[in-house]
Symmetry: D2
Subunit: 415 residues, 4 copies
């Protein structure tokens, strides 16, 4: 029997970055692995395409894009004399490639409903370990870098920090696919301005305008896309639907579900017991993607449970609730009026209205925390926080988060 | 109870055309209908994203884009003095909006496996009739135009002809999302060059270079994207998987399937009996989309039937067969050698190899038929076929189709 | 004799905005006038193409682009119920079309050397009056609006304010032609967000992110393009060359000059005497453009006056001085050291070094003054300054100007 | 005295290709040379900006762009194992950098009026030799390649052939700046498809669609831009103006002219005497650019010679003649009628009408000649002409030229 040798130096055509070259056979093998291929079935922005129809791009595309930018960043740093060994180079490429491997379908939805207490970073961790076993320890260094346990700290910052390749790719990509062209950023220029000083990833001084622009673009994307009222409305609908399904499952109510989803509905997985169940959790998790949720929701639209069927039908047919955002918390009287309307309109008991009436806060801050501020190399021997160097950005503001209150309920139950 | 009036003059942000305005409330209501929302769950290019990862755009986006171009075309024609009434305008917008409403998941796959003999245009027809009943006959004129039974023939040509808004949108959109930037076309310019002469949609003479370019781009997209070897390999895998599932279903073998897919697997729907079963067919069809196929395939990957499981596993994990294209039909000895390899490698009987070894022809011709040639208005009183006016395009060639032979089989079973 | 009627409904192909339609015959006639055609010979960004080679676009293009955006803005405002009469519409289009008509070659250079004390806005004024006479008073209303003497103040704001069509076009256009893609702005979105409240041009609240982004982009363009060190170096060279030529002319030294330039070199025009000389000034000014300066400089490169020849030669052959920017004013010792180097190297007397050694300040502030702040309509009855609404922009900072010190001298005379 | 070392590894920001890196110090020195800097003052497309206002880009930009593509092509070929030494690499980069060094202002205008019989390729040759002397013979190999006298013929083909880097850049660049977006081509993809076979530059088979698209785009650019009627009208006006000025100069009539232009007006330079006058010709030629023509024309607009003043005034103020294109040669009666109209309208003698009434032929063929056909490598050992491999392009047509007749005359003198 004759087997053709496969060409592993692949070129992938990406509408955002152009031709992306896969430079190593090991990277190629990881991309080919089922665990990674699953990301083709998980949309980068969940239900955002309900508002921006173009936003059907996937975690797969995003990760390939981030890999591409990482290659550029490594070349740029090396050309400036920063020492990065071949092994480190592969490891950091692997780390960025796998940084989203643990994303479930509509990720936050899952985290908030099916496997509460276990976020996608823990799952990414678990899957990387699993792959490390499969590939005989070749991911050791990548995992060290991912977990920020490797001595050269700037390598971790390329994977995860204020200016990591993850963010550079997703801001640009989400801007491209949503059509919110203003959000686009000059990834080329930012990458050319990166340097390493004192083992920290820094931006050269003349790159400050590009960094300011990046922060403003990111904020624009937050409020115009990620926190768009209708996007949030879709996601609340999804979370509530899954929570309801989980509740019914806990009461042994039967319902259609794909086997992978069924496992997570009918088993109680949480931080405490995940270790014992690990192999089972993983074997089901790697089969779970957006399609499990959608096919199940289509069936639930006709389920006997009134609440489940309302939520599922509205989700599938895009009959979205109304979201009201405000700077102050909504008045109690208004909430109680809406609650009554819902009870009357849908024939529900008061405690059941929690599935249709949701209120809470959202917040976004430009920086995760003050100790992770972008560093600017103002001259050879001196680093400063961006907040000290940027005149135009409001520094105290940058460090606190921007908060809004929301209330979400069926369109026909307003006051 | 208080209900907010919904704003139906919506603006949709499309990365390809920019802001798209929905100009009529009726169009808005059609877009909101479940039948139309289903198109959000059907990718425009099936499994093409296996080769061009960006190509995850949907029939929903495409149809909204074609609607937008139709609005531009109507404005352009009216500005040239062509008489188009308000009713005709709405009808032709509705016709283009619904032209793909009957597309099933991975459309050709379905047509070739589950409901053979019934193509998506028949289904579009059926669903339009259904919507016409729901909307009390308001689609009458749209349906007449769609079926080319309306007196003003050029209105049908805007919906379906060599230069219809369907093609103008999909060439541009597919080029955008695949990243094959060369395929892009100047839809603005072509639309500005459209005119009507003698009740025919024609292109003004100075538009000839843009039309030539459109034809060359379309051909480039055919061979670079639509007939890309790996795209075809994915689609054959899908068709064969569904054919195998259908066969097993006919033998009452049980297998996981979503209810909608189950209906089409376990019922034999064909042109002869569709009329009797119409309501059932429609009620299941409008629930069927890409996710049904994918969730089912994920389960079939572990089915007892060896062939089904191989095909499903390869499909889900993107382990694609090899496709060889050639100008001459492949040699019999080669085929029989490959067949033996497959039998040996997978332990199959000879007749079972038809699921893994596929051969046939593909063809594409620039024009559907000679009577549908693009007409150029060379001067006020004279129309000519593009073929007479274009010097550079090879006329005899344009009228025959471009044919290639292919053979498709598992990568490890070559000769 | 037979004369063809000219089609005045022209379409102009603009790489930035696409097809631009000239909607009125009067606008067409103004564009055709010699005074306006002169703008084809004046680069929008002077010598910026010495740094960004693509930036050879002209005032002509920019003005046509601003005209296009004005048409869009008027349509948008009218669609929101703002009353704008046909006459007002034409007038505001004319006002934006002619807002740069008084720009001389390398405008600031001229203002600072040849006709000091008379800026391009005064000249625009004079030329508009002249055109008004030629067109029998048809520009009356346009001139009123331009001078902010018309009752509807928002019409003036469309022509000249923080968010006028001039700025929207030039930020986007300069970004396009320089290749500084990050500078691009969403003119479509900003224009859709404009409204009029209390006779003020305002931005609707959800447009705030786009406006923030516009301000950041504008600032980025300032520091990355308009105040780029090498761009400034080129402009100083030009100003100094013209100042030297003017000095020599005042001493009756003869030198090659095109007739139009000669007039301004050998005549002393200033705010006090321009009225008496008006017809002569205008008749020469409308012949003056970039080419007069360049052809003269090419000859001056061989002039007997050592300083003129150095400056001209360096300008023509792009042998640019060094510019050092700093936050603090340069040290006296450094300046005096450089001065000595220049004297020694070029054999100049101390007072002559002022042509080769230039120091000073540049500043840019995001807003001209606090009374011209962008207004946001936070709800139906309430307007707020952007500074009150924007959390992220540093308010006190926005109102003061950003200042830097520069010093500019021949590359080989540094310390 | 202290002199800073200049960084010669420059990055140039090009709106068409992005960041262009100058990789060698010698290339940098050539770019800095006055001869090359002159190209900043010569528009790539002459007066095309009279029709497409964006088209003010220069030969400088184009050459830098072609240099960039050459770098990419060399990298691509080397990655395929084609042997190219460091010296050859530099030489071919130099050859493309200097291929347009001999372009005069509005090049064909000059060739047809001022120095008839000497085209820009001869002048490029002369200037390269001159530079070779200045740089002590370092251009030897570049000149050999430029003149196709070097043993490796494919290196010359990269500089000058059907698919050279000159064409790849100008089609893409002219499309970008004119706004004729349809003309754009996939330079990345074409370059990736280049290979060398049998010392010939060839295109790999799967690149055939991109090449077809390149040819169609090029043809579209020809008829939509380069041979646009109004572009041609502008150029005829220019040629006739210069011919008239030359005639007056030969009669010792005095007129304003910049010194460089004056030299070519008052001296009779032709192929026979250029050798003797070489140093003088070169010293004046390198000072001549677009601005000399424009400043002179502005003065000629008021010259006593009626014909010169008409032509110059119309050129400067963009009062363009009418051009009629046709497939058949214009009727004699029509021409004689127009001639009479001109005589009457302008008070000219019959023989003087040749300055205002121009007729002739233009032609464009897709391939220069059959022996320069693009070669396709259909498999390892076989090359074929594109004409044999491309089905869609009309082969016999490609080898003959496309011819049209034109007649050009003042708008008010038509019949």
């Amino acid at each position: 029997m004759n087997s053709k040798k496969i060409n592993k130096k692949k070129i992938i055509n990406d509408p955002v970055h152009g031709f992306v070259t896969i430079t190593s056979e090991f990277i190629f093998d990881l991309i080919e692995h089922n665990y990674f291929q699953r990301l083709r079935r998980i949309k980068q922005l969940g239900l955002t395409h309900y508002v921006y129809p173009g936003a059907t791009h996937t975690r797969f595309q995003h990760t390939i894009g981030a890999l591409h930018l990482m290659g550029q960043a490594l070349d740029s740093l090396k050309s400036k004399g920063i020492k990065i060994s071949k092994d480190e180079e592969e490891a950091v490429l692997v780390a960025i490639l796998l940084h989203d491997i643990g994303h479930g379908p509509f990720s936050h939805a899952l985290e908030e409903s099916l496997i509460s207490g276990i976020d996608h970073e823990i799952l990414s961790q678990l899957l990387m370990n699993e792959l490390n076993t499969i590939f005989n320890g070749r991911l050791n260094l990548a995992i060290e870098i991912f977990n920020n346990r490797y001595s050269k700290k700037f390598l971790h910052q390329l994977v995860s920090s204020q200016l990591d390749m993850d963010r550079l790719d997703y801001i640009k990509r989400d801007s491209f696919f949503t059509g919110v062209a203003e959000g686009t950023i000059g990834t080329d220029r930012i990458i050319k301005m990166l340097n390493v000083s004192d083992d920290k990833l820094v931006v050269e001084k003349k790159g400050i305008y590009s960094v300011e622009k990046f922060l403003i673009s990111r904020r624009l994307m937050y409020w115009q896309v990620y926190f768009h009222k209708t996007v949030m409305a879709s996601e609340y609908l999804l979370v509530k639907m899954l929570q309801r399904a989980k509740l019914l499952a806990s009461k042994e109510v039967s319902m259609f579900a794909t086997p992978a989803l069924s496992y997570f509905l009918y088993h109680d997985i949480h931080a405490a017991n995940i270790k014992q169940e690990l192999q089972k959790v993983i074997s089901h998790f790697v089969k779970l993607d957006d399609t499990d949720i959608i096919t199940s929701a289509k069936e639930w639209a006709n389920h006997d449970d009134k609440i489940l069927s309302i939520l599922a039908r509205n989700l599938v047919n895009r009959k979205l609730p109304l979201v009201i955002l405000s700077e102050t918390s909504p008045k109690k009287e208004m909430i109680s009026k809406i609650k009554k309307n819902i009870m009357q309109c849908y024939g529900l008991a008061e405690k059941e209205t929690t599935y249709l009436l949701i209120s809470g806060e959202i917040s976004h801050n430009a920086f995760g925390s003050s100790d992770d501020m972008i560093q600017i190399s103002v001259n050879k021997n001196e680093l400063k926080d961006l907040s000290e160097v940027s005149d135009i950005l409001n520094v105290p503001y940058l460090q606190k988060s921007e908060k809004k209150y929301f209330i979400c309920f069926p369109k026909n139950c307003g006051v």
